[in-house]
């Protein structure tokens, strides 16, 4: 959604800043697709938004709400002179936030992960209040709900379909060989996840009374400022139970730590210190972690030829290793959920 303007911009290219925001750009620099613009009043992040404008307004409103509630994990949105959260210039949509990143987010260090999960807990806790306050405004986003078990089952069907497709002839590449070799265990994992989801009472739609979620944990959209993790882009938000965010966060960064059980335990503990999860949501976490999302993704990318097969084979092999570590870790998580139930 956030696309970088051309890399060759100078401060003069931000001539719209003084008129819209009353900010005078002195210098600018592009970092991870975002312009860091130095003004007399400090550094600001200028982001171009390429998505649906209708989604931008609630995202920035939510971000402002969190910042106003004292959440240090999101930068506050700078309003235009007219009191708007964003502005249009030459047909493009921009919004400006305070520059909040002092240090790059490094998911290889446990400290950064703990800091990120701490702020995630804070965001989720405060978001409940936001949902209560803005119930009417969020209702329209609840309208077209996704029936998760059905959608997940379709993903599994696609995995089987791909497997049948490549087995109907001789295997052509190493990707197909590795996929065919591992399809059954991954399909079983998917079925197991679905069963857990249904047993946990999530047979219907997931975003039941959902709250806004960060829904994106790209390393480039995260940073650290004085040992506090910062989420700099909330425009990919979605509605749903917080376990969805937690699952995405863990699936994104725990492979780097070989799904270290003690680290996962610490992360969950830190999260729950800031936002205690009801047992029902805890039981949702395990199936969301277990479902073979990327196994499906790589097959799709291979079939669409959007990625190089050799690179996909390496990714798939790495994912298979990860899954082994993850399953060991999930065994301990199963116990964690059960203990809480008692």
């Amino acid at each position: 959604m956030v696309g970088g303007p051309g890399d060759a911009k100078t401060a003069a290219d931000f001539s719209w800043l003084p008129t819209s925001y009353g900010l005078e750009a002195q210098s600018c620099e592009k970092r991870d697709g975002v312009w860091r613009v130095e003004c007399g009043r400090g550094a600001f992040a200028v982001r171009e938004y390429n998505g649906d404008d209708g989604r931008l307004e609630p995202a920035l409103d939510w971000q402002n709400f969190l910042a106003a509630q004292g959440c240090r994990g999101v930068p506050s949105v700078i309003k235009t002179k007219g009191g708007q959260n964003w502005t249009k210039y030459e047909g493009k949509t921009y919004y400006v936030t305070a520059w909040a990143v002092q240090q790059e987010f490094n998911p290889q260090t446990g400290e950064h992960l703990l800091a990120a999960v701490e702020q995630l807990g804070v965001i989720h806790r405060l978001s409940r209040d936001y949902s209560r306050d803005r119930q009417g405004r969020l209702d329209r986003w609840h309208a077209d709900k996704l029936i998760w078990p059905v959608a997940m089952q379709k993903r599994l069907s696609e995995i089987l379909g791909f497997d049948r497709c490549i087995r109907s002839r001789r295997l052509r590449t190493d990707f197909e060989r590795v996929f065919a070799e591992n399809c059954r265990p991954f399909y079983r994992q998917g079925q197991e996840a679905l069963q857990e989801l249904v047993v946990g009472g999530f047979a219907a739609e997931l975003p039941e009374n959902g709250h806004p979620l960060v829904n994106s944990f790209l390393k480039r959209n995260m940073g650290v400022n004085k040992e506090v993790a910062v989420y700099v882009d909330l425009t990919r938000w979605a509605l749903g139970p917080p376990a969805m965010d937690l699952a995405l966060f863990l699936n994104s960064f725990l492979p780097l730590h070989k799904w270290d059980c003690s680290l996962v335990g610490s992360l969950l503990e830190t999260y729950e210190q800031n936002n205690a999860l009801p047992v029902r949501e805890r039981s949702l976490l395990v199936p969301l972690l277990r479902f073979p999302w990327r196994f499906w993704l790589y097959a799709r990318q291979y079939a669409d030829r959007t990625e190089n097969p050799a690179a996909l084979t390496a990714k798939l092999a790495s994912y298979i290793d990860e899954t082994r570590w993850r399953e060991k870790c999930l065994e301990s998580l199963d116990g964690w959920v059960w203990r809480e139930k008692r």
Binding site: W141, L146, A151, E158, A180, N215, A238, W293, I320
Partner: protein, 399 residues
């Protein structure tokens, strides 16, 4: 005399597990296959294959069929996970986030994404050379100290025994089975594939010598080009031919007889393509016709037909084409068993009599309605009408 070159386009046969048999006249190829999954331990390379034992026995022998049973014990040495390098740990944030986006759609609340139940390739991916190793070995002698194989540092050993049974059809003396090729390959991260090709054959016999009666006539030499599209043949192991569905059409006017039959030609070969099964079979079925000169014996349909194929030459001009030159010896046999008509008549009469008796018994067993209430002491044969008691009752009228 050399006839024109006939072209046969072969179709690859599906590789069967745990065995695939290719039967021909006088030769049978048995392709044994076994997979071993080493998960969760990755395979990082292949070391070697040691043949520990190859034994066989003849279970039964008929005039034209020999049934074999045997076993093949092999030790496979490969490099285990100790020597394997695990891929560098990488963050999965980009891919995981992409999964979430594609799954839930861009809309908050998650609009139902467009999902398809099937799976279609936008374009078939091109074939790529595999990075997984593959070793093809010629028939290896039994290792004298094979039982002493010890796994070295980082190497693992997979011992397996492939038990087999096979039927060899054809005239002649059965030769000892031969283990012709062994193939070991890594398929994927955890899978080892072992293939073995065993050849069973009858000893070459003098052409024309025949025990079943009839006269063998050589059909002129035939040169056939066997084409196998989309495949690279590394080595031809053998060609098996099987004939069936014989029929004869005699032409009294032209004084000849056309013998037609179906012919299945199967090529057993080593594929040059790594990354899967490499000891493979490809076959082609076609109709075959040959003309025999008229003889008085052809006044009646032959009792059986015989064919013997003689391979004269096999060449491989390129990776997907085999040229083979063959000569076929054909015969139509006219010896009907039993040969003496008198004996046949006696047999037929005996057969008819026994059948009639059987029918009689069946008829006697059947009870008449009301039989149950009749006098048991005086049974009468139901079907012999001469002995049937006839009761006449004279009615008198009183005046």
């Amino acid at each position: 005399m050399i006839e024109k070159i006939e072209t046969c386009e072969l179709a690859l046969e599906e590789a069967g597990y745990p065995w695939q048999a290719v039967e021909g006249d006088g030769v049978t190829w048995l392709l044994l296959r076994r997979k071993n999954n080493t998960a969760p331990n990755r395979i990082s390379g292949l070391d070697r294959v040691v043949l520990e034992r190859f034994t066989w026995d003849i279970l039964a022998r008929e005039e034209k069929r020999t049934v074999y049973a045997g076993s093949l014990a092999v030790a496979v040495r490969y490099f285990g996970p100790g020597a394997a390098e695990e891929g560098a740990l990488t963050a999965a944030d980009e891919d995981e986030n992409l999964c979430r986006e594609l799954f839930a759609g861009a809309e908050p609340g998650g609009r139902q994404p467009r999902l398809q139940t099937g799976f279609e390739f936008s374009e078939e991916p091109p074939e790529e050379e595999t990075s997984f190793p593959s070793i093809v070995l010629d028939a290896v002698e039994e290792a004298p100290h094979s039982r002493e194989i010890k796994t070295g540092c980082g190497t693992e050993c997979w011992r397996t025994e492939l038990v087999w049974k096979a039927v060899l059809s054809g005239e002649g003396v059965a030769a000892p089975p031969r283990l012709v090729k062994l193939h070991l390959a890594q398929l994927g991260l955890y899978t080892l594939l072992l293939e073995a090709a065993i050849r069973l054959e009858t000893m070459p016999e003098q052409a024309g010598a025949h025990r079943g009666g009839g006269e063998f006539l050589a059909v002129p030499r035939k040169t056939t080009a066997l084409l196998l599209k989309g495949e690279e043949i590394l080595e031809v192991l053998g060609i098996a031919q099987q004939r069936g569905f014989f029929a004869a059409l005699v032409d009294d006017e032209n004084r000849n007889a056309a013998i037609t039959n179906l012919l299945k030609t199967t090529l057993v070969y080593v594929s040059a393509r790594k990354g899967g099964e490499r000891l493979l079979a490809a076959s082609h079925v076609c109709a075959e016709e040959s003309r025999l000169p008229w003889s008085s014996a052809l006044e009646f349909p032959p009792s059986s037909y015989s064919c013997k194929m003689e391979h004269l030459k096999t060449m491989q001009p390129d990776a997907g084409r085999i040229i083979c030159e063959t000569r076929v010896w054909r015969s139509a046999n006219h010896e009907y068993p039993p040969t003496k008509p008198k004996q046949a008549n006696t047999l037929a009469a005996a057969h008819s009599k026994s059948a009639l008796e059987k029918m009689e018994v069946n008829r006697l067993d059947r009870k008449k309605p009301g039989d149950k209430w009749r006098k048991k002491t005086a049974p009468y044969p139901v079907d012999n009408r001469k002995d049937k008691l006839v009761i006449s009752i004279r009615m008198r009228h009183r005046q």
